[in-house]
Symmetry: D2
Subunit: 285 residues, 4 copies
């Protein structure tokens, strides 16, 4: 019998062939003595009993997630502070946070059964929105919190405070607060640096700043960031590019490190720089 | 009698004190023998006869526009191909394209009456949208055409063609096609270079490109650019940050030089580099 | 008989196998009725009569240059204002300005003999150094003029004038004035935009500017740029990364368009954007 | 009697009026019961007994340094691992690491005498050069280690390893390894992010990288970085822009955190973001 005996399964929607992969995975897991809880949408494809996405984390000890980095971001948000380890299975190419490819599923299950794996922890950020001093929204993110104007709006002006002390006023199309995990995603596109995954830091990267003097800034992740919308008609907060929330002028967005971390199952030392080169072409001619 | 005897007046809305400035301007112009056509919204503030914004360009030989660079962009769009010269009067600080401050109104009217002025021409771009091969939108811009995803959408993938020849496929949050006039506006925020105003060029600047190898590219303004939306749920085209149009997957946006130029009344040689320094802090310590 | 009956041959030094390539080329050219003038260093390898590098342009109607883009830059500098067309033969990979590969030599000679080719002209810049108002150096470049501090010096401060009018004072590690041809070379590394090759423009790109507000600026190539060294111990001017000249405080470097263009022999329409993608990975995922 | 009873004085050379400031400082310190050791060059100006720069750190408990950030960098290098606290007195404008202005000298001496101050520690980096496996150079830096080609050389190619594991090969004009303290100096000019001073990180910023995919990367300061020169004729290592060392092909430069920190005397909470705004114009319109 395994200490991790209950395993949940989540998958990216609409990827052809996923049903077969999961059917096979299911057999392998049950052979290995695990009890498996499949998310209801996949379950209906397989014509087996399914469980609601939202309930899944409360039922299992571990989550296997099939998809890409986006699917893992989604699963991490779902799991929140429950500390359930995630095994990411790539359905496409190499990912920054997925761990194994479909070919490696069989051998991976043996390693899980025999507890031959490590847990890698990644910090998450938490974002709260205060409207007229009342908290109206809270969510967490593994990658980033992005404040962004709509396509038709002109720009956002926001006050930026650190540890409740006013720092500066910015005008930009938006602002990204990113964890090290997220530094290779939206923040990089906006001109931010790459942060090694274990750094206890956030990077603040403006999107199209309206002054020439703005630069990305890397801050300790123990800092509490308050962003107050001063001007901006049609402004949204998105977490990991997935959860959106509409912001009003004078709303305060508080971003800080979440009280918990996301845990990934790792079988082998990952060469982070190799992933940088493969995924981003970093440093290659 | 003046050759430019009919003058239209447009103004930025909601600037306190504008009514008095215009009342004074009106007196000075009428004293100088001009017939003045005031836009209806301002006219109602002054309790005089007004003319519809849209009709104004067809009635006058010259347009005086009170506001900032944004108001002038708007007026340029309204005038379109009519070739009516614009005199920009700053209601705020120094602008890139406004010409005089309120203090200079009196002396400027004398110069107009005595024809002591130059006309500076600026290229405009024209943008057309084709939906299922049918032209569904057309507009012109003095600054830029911006294709941008909504705040909640993930990214846009577009094919980019030059002179009807496929060039490359880009993934980004958006794309800016800017005239030299617009190069100090949104394109600069997105990392584009400054283009001297008289260059016969466009600059193409991606917004948050999802590859590290993208760079702004400066092209001759005789090139015809076709941008085809490949992926993107909630994508908009905006011209000069003012006119918005919703785009669908497979829509083609054609951007080229407009067949006409916008003409600005200039009284003195403007030192472009001085404006760069004052407005942008360019090159200053 | 050919109108271009005298052909010079230049080659990059130290590339293994070049002697055989040239021996073959020589036979083909002589068969086709051309008189060939080989640079003396190559000639000595082939044990045939050679001609001094410097004299070569005065003897021939056309120059075949074997090497990479660097070798062509060098040949363009050698030819200067003589207007002799250059055919660039790639010894390595694809180049921005080389035209054919070794495999295409035979067919190219037929095209030259039958005059089936186009001439593509590229602007060159000219740089002059004035020391105590006396011209002490002059040279031309196809790519760029770079003012750069030595590795151990701290920074350069220079005054920048356009058309003899003071524009601004910059502090930086250096400054690049680049033609469109050079925009994909050093200027791109320093953060400059790509300029389409036929643009009549220069781009001015600072190297490590000491202010956050500096940005590359694209100017008409009819402008005359004067750069005066204000502070800087150990400063050099280099043209096309090849010719170096030591600069003193108060020296003035004048950069303008050269009075002549470099002419390249082209057999087929080159797809500039394809070269961008192949050489730079531009816009690729 | 003070625990810090022996104070050394260093000053920037060639600043007019410094002699008088130091004469006054000397009187105040002696009145307060300190024994003062003045660097010999200043001492000769004051016609008093002086001490060799190099010996000074071995004689004193604390160092007062008059000048700018550059003078402090120099003093930090001189003090090395001795842990002697530094008080930086600004002779010019506000500095990133200087603490007080001349006006504040009197009150500061009282605070030192009564021990009303804090010590702020900043990590330093150590750089070693290995030539044919033999260590031939070692030095430390508060800001940065810069590997840079000479003005006339073409580029450097280097292999980059982290913790003795090969990471990538870069071609660039140079490479900066910067501490958080140095992140607002040369690294910022080369496009690097700002790092909050207390972060336990280095930032690696390439200078004019010859590929478009290079980006600054922030790494834990416990990592050991090995840079091997592969190609490069005329390459130098400089520490804090002050100490230079000539590098040969195949030399290995090892950069790691120094075993000691530099300690600065602080009287009041410094608002780091205020300094960013004042010194860099960061985030200002």
């Amino acid at each position: 019998m395994n200490t991790m005996k209950k395993i949940g399964i989540l998958a990216k929607r609409g990827v052809p062939g996923t049903a077969n992969v999961i059917k096979n995975l299911l057999l392998l897991l049950e052979e290995a003595g695990f009890k498996v809880f499949v998310e209801s949408e996949i379950a209906s494809l397989l014509k087996i009993k399914g469980y609601q996405r939202k309930r899944l984390p409360s039922l299992v000890d571990m989550m296997i997630v099939l998809g890409g980095d986006g699917t893992l971001l989604n699963a991490a948000g779902l799991i929140g502070d429950r500390g359930i380890p995630i095994l990411g299975v790539n359905l496409g190419g190499l990912g920054f946070i997925t761990e194994i490819s479909i070919d490696e599923i069989r051998s991976s299950i043996d390693k899980i059964a025999s507890k031959h794996y490590d847990l890698e922890e990644r910090i998450m950020l938490s974002a709260e929105v205060y409207h007229q001093r009342r908290k109206v929204f809270t969510a967490s993110a593994l990658n980033d919190a992005v404040i962004n104007k709509s396509a038709l709006a002109r720009m956002i002006e926001f006050d930026f405070s650190i540890n409740k002390r006013y720092v500066t006023t910015l005008r930009a199309d938006g602002l990204i607060v990113s964890t090290p995990t997220g530094s290779t995603a939206h923040s990089l596109s906006a001109g931010g640096p790459i942060l090694y995954p274990t750094l206890e830091s956030f990077v603040i990267t403006p999107i199209c700043p309206h002054t020439l003097t703005n630069r990305p800034i890397v801050l300790p992740d123990r800092f509490i960031l308050d962003i107050t919308i001063k001007i901006g008609d049609d402004v949204y907060l998105t977490l990991d590019g997935q959860v959106g929330f509409s912001l009003k002028v004078r709303d305060i967005i508080r971003v800080k490190k979440a009280g918990y971390k996301t845990r990934f199952i790792r079988f082998h030392k990952r060469d982070y720089f190799q992933i940088l080169k493969t995924k981003l072409g970093w440093g290659e001619r």
